[in-house]
Amino acid sequence: MLRDITLGQYYPADSPIHKLDPRVKLLGTLLYIISLFIFKGYVAFVLAAVFLIAVIKISKVPFSYMVKGLKAIVILMIITGLFNLFLTPGTEIWRWWIFRITKEGAQNAVLMLFRLTFLIIGTSVMTLTTTPNQLTDGLEKSLHPLNKIHIPVHEISMMMSIALRFIPILIEETDKIMKAQMARGADFENGNLIKKAKAMIPLLVPLFVSAFRRANDLAMAMEARCYRGGEGRTKMKPLHYQKRDYIAYVIVSLYLIAMIALRIVWNTFVVPAA
């Protein structure tokens, strides 16, 4: 039953977005999120939507995959929406008992919901089109300057990729231990919360022991293959920017400039007029 868990949500396809350098996608996603929080006005909102839809179309990932990510935050979205709806001061348009809705509140709520939706879908585009390995590679290279302030960037990204490699193995192991304990009469399903938590002990102890043993073996195997940290290492798949990566950077920059321009225009002309 635990085997069904899929990790990362990479959707393999042959698209220009998939081929982009992971660094472009990381920075692009960051800039897109920033743009979502600076936009003002309906034109900017339409621009953000158009940009996102265009990227999704180019990425060839079915839209239903994007929406899957939204399910996880439905509750968060509802709460944020309700807070904005009821707690924003302004012109009252509706009132019942202690609840009141203002014009600004309604606007804010709608805006916030769209922002969150765009944010989740935007980041999904990145995780759906980039393998976890590319992501760690991209992070390692983008954060490389942090080495200067003694943050072990290479080691952290190596830890991340090893974790990714071992999660499925440990899940399988958990499954095995669970079955072995169930065969000896362990009960993982019944009882109250405390009972269930207690039932986890005979599962977790052997799992930890085995994880440490694996770690020990793996460290030995890595040393036997001459691993000695990030220094003097070459890369099998080094990250090099190509023409399409520069084009992507230009497009993202243009988009961001347009968003900033729209905000300035909105603030100077529309808001004072209203």
Binding site: R165, A224, R225, C226, R233
Partner: protein
């Protein structure tokens, strides 16, 4: 000079209590002498706790000798500055295939060793392709190791060592966790490397069947090398092998029992064909 030379090699596992006082000393290797020539296929046999894995870890400089000396291709393993040269000369494959694969894609794992020793990118790709081809795993290059069988994983691990172009590969019970088919595939790949690329192989195992094709066999028991020689000579001493708690191949055992029962057949029969031939000769 041979590629691996050990003289009076001793290794002691020292257990200390919390204050650092020595609690007990367990001698895992006791004055072991070993001579391996380049291009040989050596098998080291032994029961659990015979010290064979400890010996293997010395050849890769994972453990240091307590006494005595060991040279790998002229490098003294006790000298810390030789450690990376030793590891590059003698690659090592471990027992558990899952615990020695680092990357989540087969080809990236094979590239891990060359990356560590600073091989240029283009050459890494060549080496990866060549090594995967040598173990017959080229068509799985973009697969995830989690989806492979034990034997396939172990062959990927061997390719990972091959990609570092070592002169010698030490395999520490590479087949212990595999099913019979996986075991056959792994051994076939190892023999192929030995024949075609001239890599020196040191195969550590407790399956007697696997050592039949070796050039020379060492038998270890309680930290000592107790027997050495060509497989035929070793297998002709059925009684002493039993004493060292090793299982003699069934066909050799059958031949031995037949001989004891009075049939005139030679000692040290290794294959079914040889036994058939000997029996035919007896009948004539």
């Amino acid at each position: 000079m041979g590629i691996i030379k050990a003289r009076k090699l001793v290794h002691e596992y020292i257990r200390r209590d919390e204050e650092g006082n020595v609690e007990s000393i367990q001698t895992a290797l006791d004055k072991v002498d070993l001579d391996v020539h380049a291009g040989e296929f050596i098998a080291i046999l032994g029961h659990n706790g015979s010290g064979k894995s400890t010996l293997a870890k010395h050849i890769n400089a994972i453990l240091e000798p307590s006494e005595g000396s060991l040279w790998v291709d002229g490098y003294d393993v006790s000298d810390d500055k030789n450690i990376w040269d030793v590891r590059q000369t003698a690659g090592m494959v471990f027992q558990n295939p899952d615990n020695q694969i680092i990357a989540s894609v087969v080809e990236e794992d094979v590239g891990f060793g060359p990356e560590n020793i600073g091989v240029p990118t283009d050459e890494i790709w060549e080496r990866v392709e060549e090594s995967l081809k040598a173990v017959g795993m080229l068509k799985y290059r973009t697969h995830s190791p989690n989806k492979l069988s034990g034997g396939q994983k172990q062959r990927v691990a061997i390719a990972g060592v091959m990609a570092m172009q070592p002169k010698c590969i030490v395999l520490d019970e590479p087949t212990a966790m595999l099913d019979p088919n996986g075991r056959k595939d792994v051994l076939r790949a190892v023999h192929k490397l030995n024949r075609e690329k001239g890599v020196t192989i040191i195969l550590i195992t407790h399956y007697m069947e696997e050592v039949v094709d070796a050039d020379r066999v060492y038998v270890m028991d309680q930290g000592h090398v107790v027997m050495q020689g060509v497989p035929r000579d070793i297998f002709s001493q059925v009684e002493s092998l039993k004493e060292y708690r090793l299982d003699v191949p069934q066909i050799t055992l059958l031949a031995h029992e037949l001989k004891k029962a009075g049939l005139d057949i030679p000692e040290g029969i290794l294959t079914r064909e040889e036994l058939t031939e000997a029996l035919v000769r007896v009948c004539q």
